[in-house]
Amino acid sequence: MVTTPQAVVRSLLPLAVAVGVAVGLELLLGLLGFYAQKILFDIGVNIILAVSLNMVNGFTGQFSIGHAGFMALGAYGSIVVTYYGGYALFGDVMMHSTVTGYALYFVSILVGGVVAAGAGLLVGLPSLRLRGDYLAIVTLGFGEIIRVVLQVSQPVLEPSEMAAVPWYEQPWHLGRSLGFVHSGSYNTLGWTWTAVAVTLLVAYRLRESTHGRAFLSIRENEIAAESIGVNTTRYKVNAFVLAAFFAGVAGSLFGHQLGAGTASRPEEFNFMKSFEVIIMVVLGGMGSISGAAVAAVALTLLTEALRSFQDYRMISYSLLLVIVMILRPQGLFGTHEIWHLLARFRRKGTR
């Protein structure tokens, strides 16, 4: 591979821009009210969820409806790290706005992602040999199993009780159906949007890579892909694990958000949450990264705007879903990206 310094700079440029945006948001934090912060946070998490699910449903053409389960694993995995790990580190369970505290949070995000990815591997290996709708029902079932298992866990340990419980049993104390009430709201918009940027970049680079091409070939024709030597099961599992990782990251962010995540309850991660992400991916266009992101932004804003018409919100979404499926089955953008469409628009304009 030939790499010139220019190429390196060029390939790092998007990341630099993205981190710049994230840092900018972080600096603006003081100017934004709580409400604006919450919306920007929700948008960020939904983009991560939609773009990551798109790797399975859009790129690879499989149909997973258990994304909320992976998100839950990420949320709980990372809270375990900041709560019980934080206790082991600092001797209390308060939030620590120090370098060590944020380093712990960073580690917890990674742990959340890895836990979810591990679960993705565990589910993916046996079930990805199944066809379309069986896979759908297995992933949905898996999400439900996670929810139920979280509900039968032990109550969260108070700091005074921690000494009595050995460290390897502590991660099982997840707060039953009450949810994990914790005190570390480490997350800020800077963290959220850095994660968004990384997700978008990984998704984009992935699709342009050999791996991504293999994913796409499975989507287009699984039998043909297999016949030219693509190990379809392996690539499907890869896509699944990667998507699970980012869902876990989204869960970690969600779990450490002030307000929304002060208690991560198992109920929040039921299949309705998975369906919401599916709606975003399908409306945006399965396979389109910017489509999924735009749909995530639009639907999050719509949800907020329609808050006073909550009863009608899901009615209109579901109707929209059915109508889009009948009239424009490929979704709004299809497999195109927003810049492809813009370019085409511009060409038409000059002619």
């Binding site: 409806i65 079932g141 898996f142 439900e144 199993i145 298992v149 579901s318 059915v322 009948i326």
Partner: protein
């Protein structure tokens, strides 16, 4: 020992309801090869239609005649719902990829749930006492009369369906369509009408299940409650366990699922009950991907 018998009985009661619902899933899957996610909502509507019908006709005391009337009314209304569902949501997608149909089904399901919430309200509804409630003690086991009636009704309907599918011309047409649409069409079978019919019959069975659930539990949760979808999903799992597209398989799967749930809830933490169905599903798909009674399907290129 008596608790074992108690779980056994309860398992059969719950399982026969799963079986009734599973039939709807298995018939649609057998013919159109997709999971009709909206089936659980037709089931929910069955319960709510029966409630509304009994309120409408002011049925305040138990009477078998009134209960039968309500059952037939709910079945008719749900059949209509099923027919409309197929006609306006699924038929336009007959030639679309299966994924699109699946997504549409999810959309339709969400739509019915939320529209139902708007129409029927968000509160738990006390189900009218359509049947007299007696409790017998047999050998230390408590038996509720409504459960017995539910099981008997469910089995009667299942036997009726079995006869319809395997002993009549219509059933033969249904089986032909499930093997190959195009060739069935070439043989002069009105494919669209048979598919509509499948939805109508499946929805009628779901309506019966809805009414029976209402009677057994005495109250029904609001339309958008996730327990309805969960109930439906478990019924689908039952259909897969028995072998999808297979009518006796759905009954076997339903009973098996009901029994295993009751035993797990009885001997282990009861919260685990909701997980057992999916655990069973994963195991079955790994060991016998075509279900207990299913035939092997070779992937065609």
């Amino acid at each position: 020992m008596s608790s074992f018998l108690q779980f056994l009985l309860k398992g059969i009661a719950v399982g026969s309801l799963y079986a009734l619902l599973a039939l709807g899933y298995t018939m649609v899957y057998g013919i159109l090869q997709f999971i009709n996610f909206a089936h659980s909502d037709v089931f929910m509507l069955g319960a709510f239609f029966s409630w509304r019908l009994s309120v409408l006709f002011k049925i305040n005391e138990p009477s078998p005649v009134a209960a039968t009337g309500v059952l037939l009314g709910a079945m008719a209304l749900c059949s209509l719902t099923g027919f409309l569902l197929e006609r306006f949501a699924y038929r336009p997608l007959r030639r679309a990829p299966r994924l699109n149909v699946l997504i549409t089904a999810i959309g339709v399901s969400l739509f019915i749930e939320n529209a139902g919430q708007l129409v029927f309200g968000k509160n738990v509804v006390q189900f009218p006492p359509l049947l007299a409630e007696h409790t017998f003690e047999v050998g230390g086991v408590r038996v509720r009369s409504v459960e017995v009636i539910a099981v008997v009704t469910a089995f009667a309907l299942m036997v009726g369906l079995h006869t319809l599918v395997y002993r009549t011309r219509m059933g033969k047409a249904m089986r032909a369509v499930s093997i190959d649409h195009n060739i069935a069409g070439l043989m002069g079978i009105p494919v669209d009408r048979i598919i509509s019919l499948t939805f109508v019959i499946g929805s009628a069975l779901a309506a019966a299940a809805g009414l029976l659930v209402g009677i057994t539990y005495g109250q029904i949760k609001q339309p958008a409650d996730s327990s309805w979808v969960l109930y439906g999903l478990k019924a689908f799992v039952a259909a897969v366990i028995g072998g999808i597209g297979n009518v006796p398989g759905a009954m076997l799967g339903g009973l098996l699922l009901g029994l295993s749930e009751q035993f797990v809830a009885g001997y282990l933490p009861s919260e685990l009950r909701d997980a057992i169905a999916f655990l069973l599903l994963i195991i079955i798909l790994l060991v016998r991907p075509n279900g207990l009674l299913g035939r092997r399907v070779v992937e065609k290129v």
